[in-house]
């Protein structure tokens, strides 16, 4: 029961978080300055997600082999590799490093 209640609470609160902006603002438009801020929200979120995912709480999850794989994927993409191929190359680089070093 504790598990079901916790799952239900997180689910409903996640819905509410996604709905809070539209429910609060309705059809009121954001001021132009806020629009300029919102344009930058995507690159900022992505950068934050990468750091949060790689570091974890207190940077305790930091794994240089994972970082190396992500870096290889970034280099592959910069060299015009297709998106999926770049990610696969990054995964393969980390798997190879772990095979050789662990």
């Amino acid at each position: 029961m504790r598990l079901w209640l916790s799952v239900a609470a997180v689910t409903v609160l996640t819905w509410m978080m996604k709905a809070s902006g539209p429910l609060t603002l309705g059809d009121r438009q954001l001021p132009p300055t806020a629009v300029k801020v919102s344009v930058l929200m995507a690159p900022v979120l992505l950068a934050g997600l990468i750091i949060a995912d790689l570091g974890g709480a207190g940077w305790s999850d930091l794994d240089w082999q994972q970082v190396a794989g992500v870096g290889v994927a970034g280099i592959a993409r910069t060299l015009r590799a297709p998106l999926l191929l770049a990610v696969v190359v990054g995964i393969a680089a980390t798997a190879l490093l772990r095979l050789l070093l662990n």
């Binding site: 709905a19 902006g21 429910l23 609060t24 309705g26 300029k36 900022v44 950068a47 934050g48 997600l49």
Partner: protein, 246 residues
């Protein structure tokens, strides 16, 4: 002679066609992130199996919540502490959806409830690919991009629960690279759009990096969104005498 009725029908068909095209484009753009999400869902399903959550609870959770970060947080914190603390941690990690929902609102249509319903399609990658570049979002594309991601999340959870691959195997195969690598691909596309986007991304990453030392990843992520405030600085004040690259 003009036929207003025919023009109206034509406009309607054209609008429907545009929406159909945006939906298909969204689905196409959502497949890549969906593949990354599938791998993450595999890990979530396998971890839920190990934690003794059974099959129904984690699967229903994935179908209804569709939130990897919150689900993984609840999974890891519930066994370590009280339910209230675990739920709080899982919800806080999603606080960014409040900011994203506000940013999205101008592009939504209809009354408050209908807008709130459309906002349920919010997912990180969908938020990015739905951007039109002028501060507005293509909601049909957003919904389209979320469809394959949701399917991959639910399917990946089911496969993870049933196959239960070991955490050691997933680690050895480099599965943990998938998610940050996909976000890096999307970030590279974003920072190519303007110098200001690149500056904001570096600033956001720096804020998140510092905050990770003192708070949870969810709070660090929320703090990173403050970097977008540089968008409020007029261009002439930010780069004196030089225009921002479009």
């Amino acid at each position: 002679m003009l036929d207003p009725g025919r023009d109206l029908v034509g406009a309607e068909v054209s609008g429907t066609g545009r929406r159909g095209g945006a939906l298909v484009e969204g689905v196409r753009l959502g497949i890549g992130p969906g593949a990354a999400i599938f791998v993450l869902a595999l890990a979530y399903g396998a971890a839920a199996h190990v934690a003794g959550w059974g099959v129904t609870v984690p699967l229903v959770f994935s179908v209804l919540a569709f939130s990897g970060s919150a689900q993984l947080t609840l999974l890891t914190t519930l066994s370590a502490g009280g339910a209230v603390a675990a739920v709080t941690a899982a919800v806080l990690i999603n606080a960014r959806y409040i900011v994203m929902g506000v940013a999205l609102n101008d592009s939504l249509q209809g009354g408050r409830l209908w807008r709130a319903l459309q906002a349920q399609a919010l997912a990180d990658a969908s938020f990015v690919v739905a951007q039109r570049g002028d501060g507005r979002f293509d909601i049909t594309r957003l919904i389209g991009a979320s469809v394959p991601q949701w399917l991959c999340w639910v399917t990946g959870t089911a496969v993870g629960l049933l196959a239960a691959p070991s955490a050691h195997l997933l680690h050895a195969l480099g599965a943990d690279v998938t998610f940050p690598a996909f976000f890096l691909m999307l970030a590279l596309d974003e920072i190519r759009k303007s110098r200001r986007a690149a500056v904001a991304a570096v600033l956001g990453a720096s804020i998140a990096a510092v905050l990770l030392f003192v708070t949870t990843p969810g709070n660090a992520l929320l703090g990173a969104t403050a970097a977008a405030l540089i968008g409020a600085i007029p261009v002439h004040a930010q780069i004196k005498g030089r225009g921002d690259r479009p």
